[in-house]
């Protein structure tokens, strides 16, 4: 059973088509990276899944049922734009939002105390939200998204503004939820996070689904077309006709090869020019490269 499925979903605002015939299936228990440049249609897609917006065409199913107001109870949502009632006290706020997701007030209170302890916010539970630091507020908001143990969690840039310690805490919770069977949709521009956490991706550009599927399979489909080279000497060999583009780092370069080009030819020409090769490794393209390729020239 799919956790979420979209079939030919289209949404337009006046003459602007925000989402154009998008198809997507998110299997239960998956961690999906929802990617795309700013304004690509990711938020509109999420809002349609949340039943906040209604598609003009197509259909959306959540846990194999047509999307409805009831499906809000099955989804935990952390929006990109953070904000909660600034004058409400932390624990009262968590209880209020948990109750809106269907928990009884006593159960919401019990879970709120647990989460606050886990995120080291117990001392702040009776403070107003406005008194908390940005990072603390973000942790509270994360708690409000997951406190009702939803089978589906949609997190929009969950790590932005968090220090490494807090980011690791949030990441651990996400992986824990995945292990318990929750489906996680992670919308972010941080490709390294997606590579580390997601098993599948959906790349949206100009309202269209331009790439989706298993992340490993997608990367394999590109083949090992990138050479990571660390060397000493002139870099003139990189002007070889086999090289499509070069990405320079402090310790070396990543040379993307043209389709059909033989990496051995590049290695041979480097050696012939007298360069000392310390490392030559063929890699699959990074998600960042794939993102740029799919969106930069579209």
């Amino acid at each position: 059973m799919d956790a979420i499925s979209l079939e030919n979903v289209t949404k337009a605002f006046d003459s602007v088509i925000a989402v154009n015939a998008v198809n997507l299936r998110v299997r239960q228990g998956a961690v999906l990276g929802l990617l795309g440049p700013n304004g690509a249609g990711k938020t509109t897609t999420i809002r349609m899944v949340m039943n906040i917006l209604v598609p003009d065409e197509g259909s959306i199913r959540v846990l194999d049922k047509p999307v409805s107001d009831e499906s809000r109870n099955w989804i935990g949502y952390l929006p990109e734009e953070r904000g909660l009632y600034p004058r409400m006290k932390v624990r009262a706020l968590i209880i209020f939002l948990a109750a809106l997701h269907g928990l009884t007030e006593s159960e919401a209170d019990r879970r709120a105390r647990e989460w606050l302890t886990r995120f080291e916010l117990s001392e702040w539970s009776e403070k107003r939200m406005v008194d908390l630091s940005k990072g603390m507020q973000q942790k509270v908001q994360f708690v409000t998204a997951v406190i009702h143990k939803p089978p589906i969690v949609i997190l929009d840039e969950p790590f932005s503004g968090l220090d490494p310690v807090n980011a690791t805490t949030i990441k651990d919770v996400m992986l824990e939820m995945r292990d318990q069977g929750s489906t996680i949709i992670l919308s972010t521009h941080r490709m390294e996070q997606v590579e580390r956490m997601c098993d599948s991706i959906c790349l949206i550009n100009h309202g269209q689904n331009v790439l989706d599927g298993d992340l490993r399979a997608i990367k394999q489909s590109y083949g090992k077309n990138t050479a990571h080279i660390e060397f000493t000497g002139s870099d003139a060999f990189l002007n070889s006709p086999a090289v499509a583009s070069v990405n320079r780092f402090g310790s070396g370069v990543e040379a993307k090869l043209k389709p059909g080009a033989d990496p051995q030819e590049l290695l041979r020409s480097a050696v012939q020019t007298g360069v000392r090769i310390d490392r030559f490794e063929l890699l699959e393209p990074s998600l960042n490269d794939i993102f740029i390729e799919k969106t930069a020239h579209a």
Binding site: Y77, P79, G83, L84, Y85, P86, L100
Partner: protein, 422 residues
């Protein structure tokens, strides 16, 4: 339903805990009660000393009549005026006036009257305190009577009591109702105008509270979290009903205050005290019920419009500029209510009071002046309920789109376009 209740509860508790609510609900009536007691106290303790007057009578023979005319008494039973000196046809009037001025400045005299030799000219009152209006009526009356008597005498007509002769006829207005007749002392107009102001202020105030509440959730970005748990319609309904609960609480507290004040007025009337002024004011229960019904109809109509405005804007400034859409019909009501006040039974008054945006203020106004036929009330309520349904439907559509729209303030055509979004 449970979610709706949670939204209502939070909205209600948040509002009633604010300083604004405490000030508006408790301190305003306390100030009202305080002022009432102050007025009653001041009325009961107005100047307890007689005004010391001198009379310079250039005409001659008028002063005694003026003195006998100044018979009014203060609240404490003492005479209001004490004529300390009368000077008939002085040889050197300037010197006399100079002397009297000196006495006034020395605090030995409060004022003096100069009655001219030619009685067709004005009588002068010289005083240090021209703001004391309470003395004008009795002095004018006494001087009038004395001058008229002198003129009549000059024409050979001798009258024992000029006051009775020149007294003007009084017109007493009796209000006829189905219940009977009652003496009208301006309380009907007073209640009507007070009702118009109260309804206008309440509808405006609670509408703006609703708008600000929506705006707060939008500007703090709480909205997006909320609508991941509840539908926009539940959120809108919860907000409007929560603020309605606040209004009910406020009215109950104010109502209790009015009842207490009324009881005080009745008690004072029984004792014949100054508070008996309030016992003249009687607001029929039917009018109060009518006002409450129309207030809530008006509240649901206007607050849903204000909520839509709040949802459409991204900042307080934008909202202030766009709120005219919801405010305009209310403000217009205040411009036209005098039409109904002048003739509540006219065809124009009927038409205006049946228009749903004006009805919540104008229909209770008509009821306070003269109860209109039942069919007119029923028609007005029916039109209002239908309008509320339409306006809430449209506002909910704008709200649903607006709460997630940030950036520039939408124009009116854009708001209309939002109605077409699904």
């Amino acid at each position: 339903m449970h979610k709706l209740w949670l939204i209502i509860k939070r909205e209600y508790i948040t509002r009633v805990k604010t300083k604004g609510f405490v000030i508006g609900t408790l301190i305003v009536p306390l100030l009202g009660v305080g002022f009432t007691f102050l007025i009653v106290f001041l009325i009961g303790h107005q100047s307890s000393q007689a005004m010391r007057l001198a009379i310079v009578d250039d005409a001659g023979g008028i002063a005694p009549a003026v003195v006998s005319g100044l018979q009014t008494r203060l609240a404490n039973g003492q005479p209001q005026f004490s004529v300390t000196q009368t000077i008939e046809q002085p040889a050197d009037r300037d010197a006399v006036q100079e002397e009297l001025r000196g006495k006034i400045n020395a605090g030995a005299l409060d004022g003096y009257l100069v009655i001219p030799a030619n009685l067709s000219r004005a009588v002068e009152l010289h005083t240090k305190n021209p703001g004391n209006f309470s003395m004008f009526g009795p002095i004018t009356s006494a001087v009038n009577e004395a001058v008229v008597e002198a003129r009549l005498s000059a024409h050979g007509i001798h009258v024992d009591n000029v006051r009775d002769l020149v007294k003007s006829a009084d017109l007493q207005v009796i209000k006829v109702t189905k219940e009977g007749e009652s003496v009208e002392k301006g309380q009907t107009i007073g209640i009507a105008i007070a009702l118009v102001i109260l309804l206008y202020m309440s509808l405006l105030m609670y509408g703006i509270i609703t708008m600000r509440s929506v705006l707060e959730e939008k500007t703090t970005r709480t909205m997006e979290v909320l609508i991941s748990a509840v539908t926009p319609s539940q959120l809108l309904a919860g907000k409007i009903l929560g603020v309605a609960g606040v209004a009910i609480t406020q009215f109950l507290i104010w109502g209790a205050t009015v009842v207490l004040l009324g009881s005080y007025g009745v008690a004072m009337a029984a004792m014949g005290g100054a508070g008996s002024l309030m016992s003249n004011i009687h607001v029929p229960a039917s009018l109060m019920i009518c006002a409450v019904i129309y207030f809530f109809c008006g509240y649901f109509l206007y607050s849903s419009m204000f909520a839509a405005v709040g949802a459409a804007c991204s900042s307080e400034q934008d909202a202030q500029q766009l709120q005219w859409i919801a405010m305009a019909p209310l403000v217009f009501t205040m411009l036209i209510y005098s039409v109904v006040l002048n003739d509540s039974t006219s065809r124009l008054a009927l038409i205006l009071s049946e228009i749903p945006f004006f009805g919540p203020v104008l229909m209770p106004l008509r009821v306070s002046l003269q109860t209109p036929p039942l069919w007119q009330l029923a028609l007005s309520i029916a039109i209002l309920l239908l309008s509320i349904a339409v306006v809430i439907f449209a506002s909910a559509k704008i709200y649903r789109v607006g709460i997630l729209m940030y950036g520039k303030r939408p124009t009116l055509p854009e708001l209309v376009r939002w109605l077409r979004y699904s």
